[in-house]
Amino acid sequence: MCDDKMASELIEENKVVLLHVKDIYKPIRLVKRRKIKFDKISFVPDAAIGLPYGSEFEVARGNLILVKEEERRGEEGTISQLTEVVESAKDNRLIVDDGLSQKLSHEEIHQMKKDGMSGQEILESVVQGSSSFKDRTKFSQEKYVKKKYKRHSHVLSIIKPTTRLIAQYYYAKGPSKICHLRLDMLSQILTLGNVHAHSRIVVMETCQGLLTGAVLERLGGCGQVVQVFFGDKPVRDALDVFAHLSERERSVLLEYPLHRLGQLLTGEGGKEIELQLPPGAPLEDDTENNEGSSTRGEDIREEDDDEFEDEEEECGAAKKRRIEEEPAGPLPLAPTNEDEEKERRRRERELLYEGAAAVLNERNMDGLLIACRFYPEPILMSLINFIGPSRPVVVYSQFQEPLVRCYQKLKESESGTAFNIQLSETWLRHYQVLSGRTHPAVSMDGQSGYLLYFTTISNIN
């Protein structure tokens, strides 16, 4: 047995879970009696604890109310329920979109929400308040309810995090923070990298730890991951959201700083470069100063979803930062104490790096995965030295050109360590499947990014 996982399928207190409303996922730590604000609604999660993951709730008067199967209508159910009882027109000839057909004002609807009315109740009032509803065709009625359902329904479910959902959450929230790494590309990195229990993988990523977490999940507590990182410590905020990973599964993770690779490659022990970190600007914070790459004239960073900022406190980065700010023990009395603490931490870190260096130094790792915002070629050409022969290497980039450079470099390199180099992108298309109305989704995500992959071979010649 690799691990004692598959633990609980019931919602537990103090665990990070994913709240799911409409198409949005949101990681959150559930604490009894602590209010959660999400998508303009707020509630305490107490009623959910102990119920199975996947349970659906309505929010009413600040509490979660379990939606029972008999009442579980979901979107489709609500639509048919609200459209079946009224007449409908054959076509849309009577519809004028003047915004006057709704008798309820925004303020009135807002008040209903404030009063804690359930989404279902509000939706019913909104449909009744629409004077033109019965003049619409059945199809347009459905569309109308669907739109309103999206706006007023408060049905949310609580889901156990998995790589699939976590990746979707990060991609929806701010793709630029994870190098635009889409789910299909992430899945290919793991497959083409032959990541599985007992493999020893080198990872270099600037995707908030998303790739590292996904690799840890696929190792199941057996094998080794060496995360090579930029700056003074690896960014792994996403690992907090991988709440389903056990201690054992996390324990296979080692780390090694990029700026010390030179030492390993030249075999000069001890000679260490101290990076000059600009004061006040932590290097790992790629959202603030995008050091890896930037696009002139166009800001490749995207707007954060401010709506959710307050819950951000409850899990992930913010929480960790808070913990770090508050020293665990009693407050240091004198600066010497602080220095000692610093020194102790430094020694601990050295030990950690030594462990990682020993693993890398065997130069027989089972795979290399790169997904970062830096120019990948020198990173690839350095890290490839630690990979054994006949092993997969996968490099992801949001851009094609840097990967072409990698390709060129590999082809031109004397030792010829790469076999069957491939460069590709993927095309991911979603479909609407409805009786008589099946077609590809009208808009599709056209940016998969690019993947370069090959198998290492022994130095030939």
Binding site: C2, R164, L192, P389, S390, N420, L423, T426
Partner: protein
């Protein structure tokens, strides 16, 4: 030999993948005295034994060569003998991710076909997960079974020869995920639901035709599956190579080449040239493999009403 753990050198009885450049990959079972013919000549198996994976090995006449690679499910997918249509790594990646497979998962699959997907699943759920794979074609089922044995996967895979649409999976509350790749997947969904663990799970159906998808979605919906999503994932490969572009003579004083040493006399029609590594699309690529339909079965206590609901 095991697909699950890399080893350094080739031993007798191992399955190795041999290849040259972009030519087809060939799986070879190494036997003493064995010979494999490749384009450049004959590869003597005796020469392979003891060689490190990832090395170059020359043909008996020393004219040709091949690289010998350690097998992985991905290389196997590219080299396996086709008994049916098979799934390739792009779809396999999406399936693995969407079914949330990881070490320890239990999965059921129908049909086994040529075992392309089965190998990838077994790799991901090892060392303590289990794959139940069903195939009603007796010969295919047997060959797949032999292959799993030879590839060190038989402790993870159970091969069953039966008609899943008629007899079902015969499993109850056992698996985390179900995968269907058969002509009429909707007939297997009810049995899939029974097979899925009480705590819920994921299902995927792969179908080339949209009519199959339509029927499958209807059935999934009817049986209470949630989050039904249909998608298509296609690989678009590029050809990367250095390309020489000529720069025409545009009259005196106009020299656009960056490499001045290459520019010639300004009376010639072609003034100079520029070499750039280019990335070309291919004229013909697979334009459709199949539609992937995914859905979630929630905890069975939620789906069929039940015990814990009274707690509130």
């Amino acid at each position: 030999m095991s697909f699950l753990k890399y080893k350094a050198a080739i031993e007798e009885g191992d399955t190795v993948i041999i290849c040259r450049g972009r030519e087809r990959l060939i799986p070879v079972i190494v036997k003493r005295g064995g010979v494999t013919q490749v384009l450049g000549g004959a590869i003597l198996h005796d020469k392979l034994i003891g060689v490190e994976f990832g090395s170059k090995v020359y043909t008996s006449n020393n004219k040709g060569w091949v690289i010998v690679l350690h097998p992985t499910p991905e290389l196997w997918t590219l080299s396996l003998p086709h008994r049916t249509q098979i799934l390739y790594s792009t779809d396999i990646s999406m399936i693995t991710m969407q079914l949330e497979l990881r070490p320890g998962s239990t999965v059921c699959e129908c049909g086994t076909g040529s075992g392309s997907l089965s190998h990838a699943i077994a790799r991901t759920i090892a060392p303590d997960g289990h794959l139940f794979t069903f195939e009603f074609h007796e010969k295919r089922s047997q060959i797949a079974k032999d292959e799993f044995e030879a590839h060190g996967l038989s402790h993870i895979v159970t091969v069953k020869c039966s008609d899943v649409c008629q007899e079902g999976f015969g499993l109850e509350d056992r698996v985390d995920a179900v995968f269907l790749d058969l002509p009429n997947p909707w007939e297997a969904i009810s049995s899939a639901k029974t097979a899925i663990k009480r705590t819920g799970g994921r299902i995927c159906s792969f179908s080339p035709c949209i009519e199959q998808v339509q029927k499958t979605c209807e059935e999934l919906n009817k049986l209470g599956f949630k989050d039904i999503g249909v998608m298509e994932c296609l690989l678009r490969p590029f050809d990367v190579r250095p390309c020489v572009f000529n720069i025409p003579n545009m009259g005196s004083n106009v020299d656009h080449s960056t490499d001045k040493s290459k520019s010639t006399k300004l009376t010639q029609p072609i003034a100079s040239s520029e070499t750039i590594w280019t990335c070309a699309q291919r004229r013909t690529i697979p334009g459709h493999t199949g539609f992937l339909t995914f859905a979630t079965l929630l905890h069975k206590d939620i789906v069929s009403g039940p015990s814990t609901v009274d707690q509130i």
